[in-house]
Amino acid sequence: MEENAPVTRRRFIQTGLNTLASFSLVGLSGYLIGRSSKQELVWQLDPNLCVQCEKCSTDCVLPESAVKAVHSTSMCGYCDLCSGYLEAGARSRDTGAENQLCPTGAIMRTFVENPYFEYQVDEKLCIGCGKCVKGCGAFGNGSLYLQVRHDRCLNCNECAIARVCPAQAYRRVPANQPYLLRGDEGRAFGNAE
C-alpha cells in the first residue's frame, strides 16, 4: 500500500524542500505587503519623559548633536526673571554672560514691555545640553524643551542617544509627523498633550 510505503531519502528531501519553498513564499509575500504598508519612521524625543541628563549633547554620532532646544511661545510666561535664561543665583537680570544659564549663550532675550521679555533659541549655538529646559521646568511652564531636528538627524538604525537615554524618552514616530511639540504649536501639529 502506498500510504504505508517507507519514506525514501529522495522523497523526504523533496517534501522538505517543497515545504520550505512554501514557507519562504508566504514569508516573502508577508514581508513585502508589510513593507509597502508600513510608514517610514524617524527618531524623536518625548519632552514629557525627558529628564535633561545632557546625553543628547554628548552621545549623538554627529559632532554637533542633532538635538536642539525649542521654545513654545504660546506656553512661555515671558518672564523678566526667566529661570531658563538666568542662573538660579544670578546677580542681576541682564544679558551679562555671568548671569546666563546657557553655557553657549544660545538663548536670546528681547524686551517686549515692562516686565515682559521674549526668548528665542539660536539653533546654531545650541548644543542640546538641556540646561535651559531644566531651569524652565523647575520653576516655569516647561515652554523650553528638546527635540531631534530632522534637518540634522541621520536617523541611524540604532540611535546612539536612544541607546543611553536613562528615561527611555526616545521613540520612533512617523516621518510625516516627526516632532512632538508642546503648546499651541503641538495642537496645530496634532500632538496630544
Binding site: 545632557e54 510666561g77 518672564c79 523678566d80 538660579a88 538641556g130 540646561k131 531644566k134 523647575a138 520653576f139
Partner: protein, 336 residues
C-alpha cells in the same frame, strides 16, 4: 628544516597581526575613554543644591501630623471656623476632622482646583472657568456664570460678604457678593492709580483676606504680595526675589500663601519647595518646612492655618495633608 612561510607570506602575516593588534588597542582605548566620559560629572548640570538647604537654626516648626489622603489628584485645601479640614481631590471634596478622621465626602462632578468656606461653612469651589457653591451637606446651591474662555480660577477667598476669585488666565481678581453678583475686578494694570498689574507666568495665583477683610493677592511674577482696599486701591505690597531662603525664588512665587491669626503670612514656593513664615511687615521670620522635607519637583503646596496657629500643607506628591506646629524654642530673631 625549511620554514613553512616564504619571505612575502611571512611579511603579510606579520602585517596582519600588527594591524589586528593596533585595531584592538585603538578600539579598546576608545571604549575606555567612552566609559570614562560617561562617568564624568555632567558639565551642564542645573544644580540647585546650594539653595535647597535650610539652616536648622532657621526652622522652628516640626511636622506634628501627616494625614494620608486617598485620592488621585489633590489640588485645594481649606479649614472652616470649626477646625474641619476640606481637601479637593478629583471630583469630590473630602471633609476631615483635625485628627485626620474622614467625616464626609461630597461628590461634586468636576475637578475642583481651589476652595474656600464662609462663616456658614458653605463651600465655594473653583472649577476651571467658574465657581459652584455647595452647602455644608454637600448639596449644590448655585452655579455661577463662566468667567470666560481664558479664565483659570486658581484661588477663592471669602470675607464677610465678598468672594474674591483669582483668575490666572485673565490676570485679575474678580469680586462677587456671596450670592454671585459681580461687583468688579481688582488689580488690573492702571498707571493712574499706581497699580502695576498682575504678572502671572504660571497657573499659580493665590488670594486671601486678612482680619480686616481686605484682599491680599500673590503677584507671583513680581515676587510680591499685594494688599488692596475694598475699593480696589493698592494699599501696600511686600516681597522680593531671592533664591536664598529669605526671598521668593524662580520666575513666579509664592505659589500659595495663607494668613495667620496675628496677621503674619505663611508662604509656599515651587521650584525649590519650601514653606516659610513672614511677619505682617513682610520680614522673613522662620522656615516651616525646608526643601529637604519635600520630594524634588513638588508643586502646588496649598496652605491653611487653624485657630491655634498650626500650619496645614497639602502635599500632592506625598498624597497627604501635613500639619506643622511650632516648636517650643524659637530661632534667633524669630519673634513675630
Amino acid at each position: 628544516m625549511a620554514s613553512p612561510f616564504k619571505g612575502k607570506d611571512r611579511l603579510f602575516t606579520v602585517g596582519i597581526v600588527i594591524l589586528s593588534a593596533a585595531g584592538i588597542l585603538y578600539f579598546g582605548a576608545q571604549a575606555v575613554i567612552d566609559r570614562m566620559r560617561t562617568n564624568q560629572k555632567n558639565p551642564y548640570a542645573y544644580d540647585l543644591s546650594a539653595f535647597e538647604q535650610a539652616s536648622p537654626d532657621s526652622v522652628s516648626y516640626s511636622e506634628a501630623q501627616r494625614i494620608p489622603i486617598q485620592s488621585g489628584r489633590l489640588a485645594g485645601l481649606a479649614i472652616d471656623t470649626d477646625g474641619f479640614v476640606y481637601v479637593s481631590g478629583d471630583d469630590r471634596i473630602l471633609k476631615l476632622d483635625a485628627r485626620g478622621n474622614m467625616i464626609d465626602t461630597f461628590p461634586v462632578g468636576e475637578t475642583v482646583y481651589c476652595l474656600a468656606l464662609d462663616g456658614q461653612s458653605r463651600m465655594y469651589l473653583g472649577m476651571g472657568d467658574h465657581v459652584e457653591v455647595f452647602d455644608q451637606r454637600g448639596k449644590l446651591v448655585t452655579r455661577w456664570e463662566s468667567l470666560g474662555q481664558r479664565a483659570i480660577v486658581t484661588s477663592v477667598a471669602v470675607s464677610d460678604s465678598i468672594v474674591y476669585l483669582a483668575d490666572a488666565g485673565q490676570l485679575r481678581v474678580w469680586k462677587f457678593t456671596t450670592s454671585g453678583a459681580l461687583l468688579g475686578t481688582v488689580g488690573q494694570r492702571d498707571e493712574t492709580r499706581g497699580i502695576p498689574g498682575f504678572v502671572i507666568p504660571s497657573p499659580y495665583f493665590d488670594v486671601a483676606v486678612d482680619a480686616d477683610g481686605t484682599l491680599w493677592a500673590a503677584n507671583t511674577g513680581r515676587h510680591s504680595l499685594e494688599n488692596y482696599t475694598r475699593s480696589g486701591a493698592l494699599k501696600t505690597s511686600w516681597g522680593e526675589y531671592a533664591t536664598q531662603i529669605e526671598g521668593f525664588c524662580g520666575c513666579c512665587n509664592p505659589s500659595h500663601f495663607a494668613m495667620m491669626t496675628d496677621g503674619a503670612f505663611v508662604t509656599s514656593e515651587k521650584g525649590i519647595p519650601r514653606v516659610k513664615v513672614y511677619n505682617r511687615q513682610g520680614q522673613f521670620v522662620t522656615v516651616v518646612a525646608g526643601p529637604n522635607q519635600f520630594r524634588p519637583g513638588t508643586t502646588g503646596l496649598d496652605l491653611a492655618v487653624d485657630s491655634s496657629g498650626r500650619i496645614y500643607v497639602l502635599d500632592a506628591a506625598e498624597k497627604a495633608v501635613r500639619v506643622f506646629s511650632k516648636r517650643q524654642s524659637t530661632p534667633k530673631g524669630g519673634e513675630r
